[in-house]
Symmetry: D3
């Protein structure tokens, strides 16, 4: 299991990231993922900055849609931690049970058709190559 | 490469599915994926019925959001055909370049954090287990 | 693309493997996979010996069943070369179109349920832990 | 962890599926996978109907062979629940330890050759393109 | 296929990244990957900055070792573009054919043992949990 | 969970492999992976012989580099057991925390670019096809 760095034991560089996580998310709670990444401060900083920009910067996609996409990747990769944390995040952003059910149904269906397309070695339609 | 079944060469069972695809999508075009699945009619029927229900039935998620989730799975699995066809479908449903850029940025970021969570063997936070 | 080593250009070590492949498969044809692996003779030898033992040694599973399992893995991994070569091998060992259709239907369904099990974070039943 | 819907708490729609699972499998036991899917009844119904048709309908592949293919996908995807439940199902359908050992040996070997084919970027032989 | 943004058609923001790629790699050539990412400038910038820091900043791992790790991920994911570009990069940094052969042999072996560990559901040894 | 075969309960064939593992690694400890594989002796023998040759035979890549490559595959596949055991092995061969941090940063970045290359369907540059 991973070594988790608590705020009180963290370097100034790590604390600065923890502080930004708290300010951005408006909660004092720092989840285990960040405490584990703190073992390698450059990865902690870079990963947080990327996640913050990708998930919270103004854009065409609303915050909940971004979480649904995130879950789709995490479920497909079978990342237990990521499924658990982003499902919680999606619920916090308004995902209800019906939406979660539809989300998993799409993820499951896409995984089905991905294998059928590969298995039958379907040639890409010319019009999709544009 | 796969053997593609054209409408004129298809059995009544297969034609019935092709007709429903055309009616549902309001286009005469049947893409290669379905023509390949027609080699095994039960799979063609079941896959189309599932896809139709999951992607077009009334629900909490709008049609474009469903395509974005679909692309997230297909990109993560590296299914060339699925990426090509569903990117085209998403564009047809209103995805613009900025949205596609944000979508891929989220997919890429989620794949990063999935590996970091696995690599650091991060224990799932108690609150995410609820 | 890969550098393919032809028999006439191969070292004695590589030729010995090519000869065994020909004898085992009772064909003069050496497919590209082996010609590519010949770039690293130890990998060619080890991979062939393993494949030969796993796919042709006497056992509980018949040769065709072994190919179906092989295809299930290759389709799930999306390995184009492996799908193409082992689908050809399965046909040579008696797989008909109906069997191939059932095979892909099972592969597709398993990929669906795999994602649903992960997505819903289903706890393993006590009786399955035995 | 997932919320599991027990029979007594289930809607008529869900109970109908549970009843069919019990009748089809000739056991009263409903495993956790179905109790979790019951959170989204359409997914429960569709997934069960697909699984029932794919795994139990008359066809070219016998029931045990179907389970072996299922396990090959689940092991390759690393789906813990699916490996546990389908290994149990395969044992119930006659898989002995030797068969399981051969099965995993093939799965392992296929995962090796999949990566070698990708890594060496082996071009698909013309004869495999047919 | 992707829309590739050439230097002359690029915005100032994109040109700045292209210029840094050229300066960092000491070559005028900008490969297709960056020209495709230029369709979404924030992703181009962030991805290049991350790649530059991860692959070229001073650290414990030498440049060639970093490329070998990169190839291991790309081969396992079956990303054709990534395998092709990073194999070229590794050759440029000193990878010889023997090293590439050993690399693929390790990647292939790890993919085998990964599946065996999953398939046999091997419990993690207490001492590995530290 | 898997059935683990202890030395005292093992056949002569299995004991011979256990003895070689102990001699090669200069430790009496046999980890769970091998005890699980012992359920199918041919797989135990073949897997150990392959692992021994690939990871310990003289070559261009040093022992620690080989472990880093191994971890890259295991993290990408999300194989918990393999990540745990090879992270321990890498530490034993000299991997320090900074190196582990850099390793995971590269693995994470490669997983990001793999998805971007797939998602944008980037055509392989001519020069990378050589």
């Amino acid at each position: 299991m991973s070594n988790l760095i608590e705020y009180d034991d963290a370097s100034a560089e790590v604390r600065a990231v923890y502080d930004d996580i708290r300010a951005t998310r408006q909660t004092d709670y720092i989840n285990n993922f960040w405490k584990a990444l703190a073992q390698h401060p450059p990865t902690l900083r870079r990963t947080w900055e990327t996640l913050k920009e990708v998930m919270t910067s103004p854009g065409e996609l609303d915050p909940l849609t971004r979480e649904l996409i995130y879950i789709a990747v995490s479920v497909t990769n079978g990342c237990e931690y990521c499924i658990a944390s982003h499902t919680a995040a999606a619920h916090a952003k308004g995902m209800n049970e019906a939406m979660f059910g539809e989300l998993l149904a799409i993820i499951a269906t896409a995984n089905t058709t991905n294998r059928l397309a590969n298995g039958y070695r379907v040639p890409v339609d010319e019009q999709f190559k544009v």
